[in-house]
Amino acid sequence: MELLIIAPIVLALVSALGSKWNKWITWIFSMAGLVVLLGNWGSLAPLVKGAEFATLVDYPWLGETVHFQLGIDGISFFLLLLTNMLIPVIVLSINSDKRLALIPLILFMQAGLNGVFMAQDGLLFYLFWELAMIPIYFITLMYSERDAFATTIRFFVYTFIGSLAMLASLIFLGSKSLNGSFAYTDLYNVQLSFAESIWVGAGFLLAFAVKIPLFPFHVWQPNTYTYAPAQGSMLLSGIMLKMGLYGVLRWYFPMATESIDFYQPIIMTLAVIGVIYGAIIAMRQDDMKRMIAYSSISHVGLIAAGLFALNSSGFQGGLLQMFVHGINVVGLFVAVNIIERNFGTRNLNELGGIAQKNKLFTVLFFLVIIGTVAAPLTNGFPGEFLLLKSIFDYQATYAVFAGLTIIFCAVYMLRMFQFSMLGECNTETENKTIPIAQLIPLFVVAFFVISIGFFPQWYLDLFQNSSAGLLNMISNVKGVLS
């Protein structure tokens, strides 16, 4: 499985060298990860269905204490699937041949993301975590439409501070572990006092809360999503923020279990506030990308709340919704990108009537919208149902407030659809039709909208055992939760 990390790096270098590659060849490059992942399904399947985070690769790396150790279970596999499936979609949506550096950077990032989701060693995890940041730094810096430097440096420094806090926590854990090892199981076996656990937990949570982003740590996010190139926004919202949620599940919960009781009410409250806060602001935005940015705060707030409810439906719903949110938000950004590319603006006040000449696009865009709105038989529903159920099981009043998302989400999503697609045409939207080739990424998205909507169990099967195993590891072994 090292190939999942090596192959994208090699292909990134290759595509960087041959700067005049045909778009389709680079697209095939981007498929490599998915091919490797699915090609190994035969050998991975038993591990994926297993309850524990099984080691795949283990080389000594920095002396005795730090190993190049990769592992997999259902949770990792599911997020690897998301990453490697979305990368080709994102590459397909690139609209200009002038953005030559974009493809190598995306591929490079793919390597980092794959590493994050597989790392089984604390320092390795940190390494990949930062590795994934480097390409997105350059993507936003080089191709942002406005305030590139200010936006990028703020985003980078802000997330980096969080990451350093996490590094401190990891090093502290490593210093207490057996032989100073950073291996996942060794770190997990470290016994922390309550006070230590609070500090270690704070380090992890700061990094993850910034990345998710959880209210009020989201300040970097709206501007970055808005001004970054479409592909950058897709990478950030579709995949990178899942690193934060994954980190909470994989690293924070098991490593600082003792602190969960302390942080649970705080995070739950912040997450539910974020759900409403993001939604209310999203309702008033005219810039489609900014609207999606705020809606994303709302959606991930719900996921974070579900994870912190610490029950089975929360974990499963959270994981499913990570996948679904990745797909839907990429679909939304692709659609916005198509609109902006063809009609020259993404301001809702300057659009309207696109549906009249572009039926297929309308249908696909609407599918993504109702997926996001979580209508039944689309992909948003099962995850949101499970998440709200988990929050309800934690505390019914929280569920009432978090449940407002199903109302608010309909408000801003349908508003966006109305003002962009429906209504009267204007001079800009009157006579243009969108070429079918641009719609290909949306077909992939639409496939997942429908298939997860109708058959969520197919996807839940991938990680149900692992998520139960993880929950068991958190709740029973350390005996924090009754």
Binding site: R154, Y158, P216, H218, V219, P222, N223, Y277, I280, I281, M283, R284, Q285, S312, S313, Q316, G353, A355, Q356, I370, A375, P376, L377, F381, P382, F385, L386, L388, K389, F392, D393, A396, A399, V400, G403, L404, I406, I407, A410, V411, L414, R415, Q418, M421, L422, G423, E424, F455, P456, Q457, L460, Q464, A468
Partner: protein
């Protein structure tokens, strides 16, 4: 193949066919596909009737697949056809077929007819999902699905931005209710570990769960019903929903979708029978809705708006019946209402079609000569809804009044007033549209034409049903036994027993009241609009102005809820997010720069200073070493 699978499959297939290749087919094919694929499930459902009628215990089940599985709680896509759901299915597919047939010529000139039929089929699919589902999850799927279809169909003419607004309003207000339903479902899962009717309802009937729990579940589910069935305070979407094509109003916003709330309560009869507080709540909500809907209906001048408020009011009647525990009666009224309200809407559609897409009754009058068939059927519908003796509405409404009379006399009086208003506004509508002088200004009476057979056939069929619908559940005083529907439904109820019957004198008094209500409404409207030949009121002043402005409820919601939220959104964005959070966080940056301005002097690029610092630092370290060693 399982009959339920077939029943569900055909509308879905129709949706898929018309949605994908419908517009490429030769003109006129797509509508017939749509109609046929609703008629086939009707036939299939009828074929199952015998199985259910021969054996009171019989149900037809279909477990399609496991939707998802959560720690042993299995959420199934499972369906069941029992005596309640077959009744609803027949209404949906039967009336659905008629309305599809009607739509063929109604939507004839629309270039997007295939899309229309595809949405309509999808609506029927979702509605069937709702009534056939064997658990709350499938009910919720259908529940949200019909909301979505309603959104799509209200906004069918999407170029018009105000239609789009109405569509979004409908969807969003429905979602408010859906949240209640969803929370109710969570409460059920938490306490009963399942969403299957067959697990939950018997457990409730056997007394599992305290009264607080049952009441909370009942009220939460009812909030869902309030959204879908347009009850106060969530009713304002329904009149706006009239923006959609008229067949949509007939099918979705009169006959089927809006009765989903009533279906839900009847389905959960075991729950509601044990939650008296919730019942009282339902009763008063229903009463208020019945009254306010009827009051507003008095002074509307849009032919469809009058019918819309009439629907709101009639739905209130049904909830009143549910509130007093008369479940059979409520379903009976659902059925007859489906007949006569679909008839009235289709009649209205025929009128609108005949006068070239105008809906304002101030511009109509005297149409009965030009549209005789439409007039007669509309008249029958009006008589039925107003409670003309022996027509369908007479029996069902009388039953509701009778059950309320036994329950609460105040509620009875309020409901009598609402019924009286019903007769009044319906005859007002009839007289202003069809009788008197023609008042149109921008078109001539001779342009008005009767509709073709595809539109009139459903009218005639529905008119016959509106006349004869009463036989489905004739009252006790005529039969001296339970009516057909009452005995048909009894096996599906876990707790509810058909109420004991009162003595004949009370019945006669009640019937007398019912008939005088009808007569009063008729005579009042006749004297006002025919004898005195008054033209429709323009909103003048006082109470009439309030009525024609719908009690300013929309304006109130706008000012009290929508504006504050929008304002909050702006405030949060401008002040909290941009200024406070963003500003505060990144104000660190100028502070650091300020500090840097001093530090910069140290780093002046002159190598001597660097050396000096180095030597100084080494000396310091050495000194410290000497000091502490």
């Amino acid at each position: 193949m399982n009959p339920i699978a077939l029943i569900l499959l055909f509308p879905l297939l129709g949706f898929a066919l018309n949605g994908t290749i419908g517009h490429k087919l030769p003109k006129g094919i797509a509508p017939w596909i749509g109609t046929l694929f609703i008629f086939l499930p009707f036939v299939i459902t009828l074929g199952q009737w015998d199985i259910l009628s021969n054996d009171v215990e019989a149900t037809i089940k279909w477990d399609a697949y496991t939707f998802f599985n959560l720690d042993g709680i299995i959420f199934k896509a499972a369906f069941t056809l029992d005596r309640l759901s077959i009744w609803m299915t027949l209404i949906i597919t039967g009336i659905g077929t008629l309305i599809h047939l009607y739509s063929i010529s109604y939507m004839d000139h629309d270039p997007n007819a295939a899309k229309f039929f595809s949405f309509l089929n999808f609506f029927v699919f979702n509605m069937l999902l709702l009534v056939l589902g064997a658990n709350f999850l499938m009910l919720f799927f259908g529940w949200e699905g019909v909301g979505l279809c309603s959104y799509l169909l209200i906004g069918f003419w999407y170029q018009n931005a105000s239609y789009g607004k109405a569509a979004r309003k409908a969807f969003i207000m429905n979602r408010i209710g859906d949240l209640g339903l969803l929370l109710g479902m969570f409460l059920i899962i938490k306490n009963y570990g399942s969403l299957e009717y067959s697990d939950v309802l018997p457990a409730i009937a056997q007394g599992t769960g305290g009264s607080v729990l049952l009441t909370s579940i009942a009220i939460l589910l009812f909030i869902g019903a309030m959204g879908k069935s347009a009850q106060i305070p969530l009713f304002t979407w329904l009149p706006d929903a009239m923006a959609g094509p008229t067949p949509v109003s007939a099918l979705i916003h009169a006959a089927t979708m809006v009765t989903a709330g009533i279906y839900l309560v009847i389905r959960c009869e075991a729950l509601y029978a044990l939650a008296p507080i919730a019942n009282e709540f339902i009763l008063w909500i229903g009463l208020a809705t019945a009254l306010i809907g009827a009051l507003i209906g008095l002074r509307q001048n849009d032919i469809k708006k009058v019918l819309a408020y009439s629907t709101v009011s009639q739905l209130g009647f049904m909830f009143v019946a549910l509130g007093v525990g008369a479940y059979t009666t409520a379903l009976f009224h659902v059925t007859t209402h489906a007949f006569f309200k679909a008839l009235l809407f289709l009649g209205a559609g025929s009128v609108i079609h005949g006068v070239h897409d105008r809906q304002d009754i101030t511009q109509m009058g005297g149409l009965k000569k030009m549209m005789p068939l439409t007039y007669i059927t509309f008249l029958i519908g009006t008589l039925a809804i107003s409670g003309f003796p022996l027509l369908s509405g007479f029996f069902s409404k009388d039953e509701i009044l009778a059950s309320v009379f036994h329950h609460n006399i105040v509620a009875y009086i309020v409901l009598v007033i609402a019924a009286l208003l019903t007769a009044t506004y319906m005859f007002r509508l009839l007289f202003l549209t069809f009788h008197g002088e023609f008042r149109g200004t921008d078109y001539a009476l001779k342009d008005v034409h009767e509709s073709n057979w595809k539109m009139t056939t459903p009218l005639v069929v529905l008119a016959v049903l509106s006349i004869l619908g009463g036989v489905l559940n004739l009252p006790h005083y005529l039969l001296h036994t339970d009516g057909f529907l009452a005995s048909w439904l009894r096996p599906t109820f876990l707790i509810f027993e058909n109420p004991a019957h009162t003595d004949i004198t009370t019945e006669i008094i009640l019937i007398g009241v019912a008939i005088s209500i009808f007569l009063f409404g008729f005579i009042y409207s006749r004297s006002r609009y025919i004898t005195k030949n008054m033209s429709p009121e323009q909103s003048t002043a006082g109470i009439e102005k309030v009525l024609s402005n719908k009690f300013y409820i929309d304006e109130f919601y706008q000012k009290a809820i929508v504006r504050p939220i929008e304002f909050l959104g702006d405030i949060l964005f401008a002040l909290v997010d941009t200024l406070l959070l963003y500003g505060l966080t990144f104000s660190v940056h100028p502070i650091l720069r300020f500090i840097g301005r001093f530090n910069r002097k140290i780093q002046n690029g002159n190598i001597e200073y660097y050396l000096l610092y180095m030597v100084g630092a080494i000396a310091l370290l050495l000194g410290l070493n000497l000091l502490f060693a």
